[in-house]
Amino acid sequence: MKFRLSALIPLLIFSFIGLALAIGLRNDPRAMPSTMIDRDMPAFTLQAVSDDLPLLQHSDLLGKISLLNVFGSWCTACLHEHPTLMRLSRQNRIAIYGVDWRDTPSAGANWLRVNGNPYAAVGLDSQSHLAIDLGVTGAPETYLIDPKGRIRFKQIGPITEQVWRDTIEPMVRLLEAEQ
């Protein structure tokens, strides 16, 4: 039986398809590149969630490193990250601000009363005005903002303890070192 080089063609094609599919499996289609990195935080006006909660203003996000967290009372994945946000807030590790996205004031306020409020200030974005300006695709999403008010990092999906430890805290340290 003579060995023919062309006998390798099916194997080559199969390897190529296998490789392409393997790369496809590793790609997370939800992890979309953000166009907002290194851009200034857009201007915004939000509604109050409740009279007894400080309303988030653009000036809150200047002069210090902060996290801007997009959440909603309808968002189940937000409950998943909530303990981490509560801990960071209790320990005063970083200033956390909340955007209550596509929600009603009463539902948002009730959610914060039941689950705890980690936010130094919070505002309601009922019609996605700020969300679309930020390029939000789903909740929760969290933006790391430097003291000049520039967006430096975007976390899509919940901030678990692991995400905080492995991804966000190292970036916060880098920003702290920049100062």
Binding site: M32, T35, R102, S128, H129, I132, G135, T137
Partner: protein, 157 residues
């Protein structure tokens, strides 16, 4: 004839209701502006569901994006400006028809490459069939002649 008309009407009713995620409250009063909004919306990807346009999608973010498209139109933006407004915030990903750029060449011209590759294989195969490599009888060398004789011997037994 009546039945044909009935069929057409039923088909129209089905196709219209199944395609319309746009609620009456969202629509602009001016039909010309509304038509522009529909055209723009059909080209924008719903970033929640990803493989639908915001015109087709029932996702709440898609609804808010549709409203924003209409607000931009009322503010005097051209179609290109509205689309660019979304691209500025969501990147080229938001376009259902990606622009031809260096990093999308593979996407746009890859299929042509595959057709070319197939045509090449077809041409090579066709050429081989037309010029078979079987030598005509009487030109075999002594070794081959001996082997043929052996085989014929076996066959005759």
């Amino acid at each position: 004839m009546k039945q044909v008309w009935a069929a057409i009407l039923i088909w129209l009713a089905i196709s219209v209701t199944s395609a319309l995620a746009v609620t009456p409250a969202e629509q602009l009063r001016d039909p010309a502006l509304e038509a522009r909004a529909r055209v723009i919306s059909k080209g924008l990807r719903c970033v929640v569901c990803q493989n639908q346009s915001i015109d087709d999608s029932n996702a709440s973010l898609a609804a808010d994006m549709r409203v924003l498209v209409r607000q931009r139109i009322l503010a005097g933006d051209t179609n290109t400006q509205v689309t660019q407004y979304m691209v500025d915030r969501y990147g080229n990903f938001v376009l259902l028809r990606p622009p031809v750029k260096r990093n999308t060449y593979a996407l746009w011209f890859g299929p042509l490459g595959f057709i070319g590759f197939g045509a090449l294989i077809f041409w090579l195969t066709a050429r081989r069939r037309k010029n078979p490599k079987i030598a005509p009888a009487g030109t075999e060398n002594p070794d081959e002649k001996q082997r043929i004789d052996e085989l014929l011997e076996q066959y005759r037994k």
